[in-house]
């Protein structure tokens, strides 16, 4: 039985979380494979929610599986697909089944996904969602009604340290901190200085929140260039692109893992922040390699 994430955050020096992405379909065998592989190696296992606006097996479903297999799930909830009623109902259900960690996100827009004509809900935004969880944590729903059986979630959210321009993003991070979050899992970072500046900014407002740096291995120079151009909030510096370009053919994945591990080591050694959140969607089976290379297993 895994230790509650909430407690790990309070006590452990360097927290490690990873992400598992559900498949498109009701076949949960792969999910279970990933859960078995990772559940004991990480402190918390996030499950994405219709990531990139592509319809998939729900985050809630895989979180239940994680629970069943003895892991510690972090339920990712976006505001894109559900209105406030649906979200509140889902949280009641999740909590009743032992899930007690939530990551609050706005969500990608419908246009990047595969159901491009769907209605975007966005009844709430991520800040409002954080407030919502607090309200429910205190025993009431959004309309002020008493709950017969409340919830108690450990609340986290995301942030984008490489946003350009950065100031508007920071204003939003401040709002999230003021609303009250226990942990932040950032978007992918590749530059320590950027991460350090971000951490300093957060610490000035909230000394207790745990910051987990987002680690997304890049497996080739072309992928890096593509991400720089097309993935908002990601900036891979030229020297890393060069390093990737020089890697011999066929060794891209290994190089990506090497770079990621190197970053994790540095973050840990220099105590830049409180841990890392590893996102290697589609290659979840490689996450243990990263952990090993970073000396975290």
């Amino acid at each position: 039985m895994a230790k509650p994430f909430r407690e790990i955050l309070k006590t452990k020096d360097f927290v490690v979380t990873a992400e598992a992405g559900p498949v498109k379909g009701s076949n949960v065998s792969k999910a279970i494979e990933h859960i078995e592989l990772l559940k004991d190696k990480v402190d918390g296992l996030n499950v994405t929610d219709n990531q990139s606006s592509v319809m998939r097996y729900p985050s809630l479903g895989v979180c239940l599986l994680i629970k069943e297999h003895g892991g510690e799930p972090v339920l990712q909830v976006t505001c894109r697909d559900r209105n406030r009623l649906a979200i509140q109902a889902d949280l009641l259900f999740a909590y009743s089944r032992g899930i007690s960690n939530i990551l609050c996100l706005t969500g990608d827009s419908i246009d990047v996904g595969d159901h491009k004509e769907a209605k975007q809900v966005f009844d709430l935004d991520s800040v409002q969602l954080i407030h919502l969880v607090h309200t429910m944590n205190s025993g009431k729903d959004m309309a002020g009604n008493e709950l017969d059986g409340g919830i108690d979630f450990c609340i986290g959210t995301t942030a984008t340290p490489s946003a350009d321009p950065l100031e508007p993003q920071l204003i939003k991070v401040e709002k999230k901190l003021k609303a009250g979050v226990s942990f932040i899992q950032t978007q992918a970072v590749y530059e320590l200085d950027e991460l350090k500046r971000f951490t300093e900014f957060v610490r000035n407002i909230d000394g207790k929140v745990k910051i987990l740096a987002g680690i997304v291995p890049v497996i080739g120079a072309k992928m890096a260039a593509y991400m720089n151009e097309n993935v908002p909030g990601v900036f891979i510096p030229q020297h890393l692109i060069d390093e990737l370009a020089q890697a011999p053919k066929g060794t891209g994945v290994a190089k990506g893992i090497e770079i990621a591990a190197r970053m994790i080591k540095q973050i840990k050694e220099e105590k830049v922040c409180d841990g890392v959140h590893i996102m290697f969607i589609g290659r979840e089976e490689k996450v243990p390699e990263i952990l090993e290379a970073a000396g975290l297993s």
């Binding site: 827009s109 975007q120 800040v127 995301t158 350009d164 508007p168 709002k175 908002p232 909030g233």
Partner: protein, 219 residues
């Protein structure tokens, strides 16, 4: 004002396929200003229809009329004689105009030739951009006069989202500005960034219960 865009010709042709005599009806207000449904466009569309149907070997006869405001029963009534002569009406007005026409002439099929898209203004000659979503709960006082409901692609009240692209462009369309970056810049210029630091609770999406109705308070 209300901005509309002409429907693809193919769609219009499909709508009018069974009819041989049609009135092409324009509106002299919003759709004239956005170059889509005024007297000029009525004449052009009528020509296009005639050419297209002639090419198919299925000739069509068109009448033309432009009403000052198609969303006014009295003004629409002025063209009733022309409507009486035709089998169907093709309206270039916004949805409000089309429906008024349809209501006034219930025995005639009335078809929309344009897609009503948004309330907007001309950024420059020939280019209209969305400004207002008619949400019924105006937020502009808190965002320096920039609407987050329609100019933010996700309608966030506590923006921006994490997806802002380099240089302050929107996650969804790199040609569009991130509304929240615009709001930030505007409020910064006015020394009112504290407005952006406030937490804004979830929006009342039922401010206007569709179908909307507004009763003037005084006669």
């Amino acid at each position: 004002m209300i901005i509309a865009e002409r429907k693809p010709m193919e769609e219009i042709m499909r709508m009018l396929a069974p009819y041989k005599k049609v009135l092409v009806a324009g509106c002299g207000t919003c759709v004239t200003v956005c170059w889509v449904g005024g007297e000029k466009e009525v004449a052009i569309l009528a020509s296009e229809l005639k050419l297209a149907r002639s090419a198919e070997g299925n000739e069509i006869v068109t009448l033309e009329a432009t009403v000052e405001r198609q969303c006014e029963r009295e003004m629409v009534a002025e063209i009733k004689d022309k409507v009486a002569e035709v089998e169907a009406v093709l309206s270039l007005a916004c949805g409000s105009g089309v429906q008024t026409m349809a209501e006034m002439f219930e025995d005639k099929p009335v078809f929309p030739a344009v897609n009503t898209t948004f309330i907007g203004m001309p950024e420059k000659e020939g280019l209209w951009v969305e400004m207002c979503g008619a949400c019924g709960d105006c937020f502009l006082d808190r965002t320096g006069g920039i609407c987050p409901v329609v100019r933010c692609a996700k309608g966030l009240l506590n923006g921006p989202c994490g997806g802002t692209r380099k240089g302050g462009k929107c996650e969804i369309d790199p040609e569009k500005d991130c509304a929240w970056v615009l709001i930030y810049r505007r409020l910064e210029k006015q020394g009112r960034l504290d407005l952006m630091r406030n937490y804004y609770p979830p929006k009342n999406y039922r401010a206007v219960k569709r179908p909307g109705k507004v009763q003037a308070a005084k006669a």
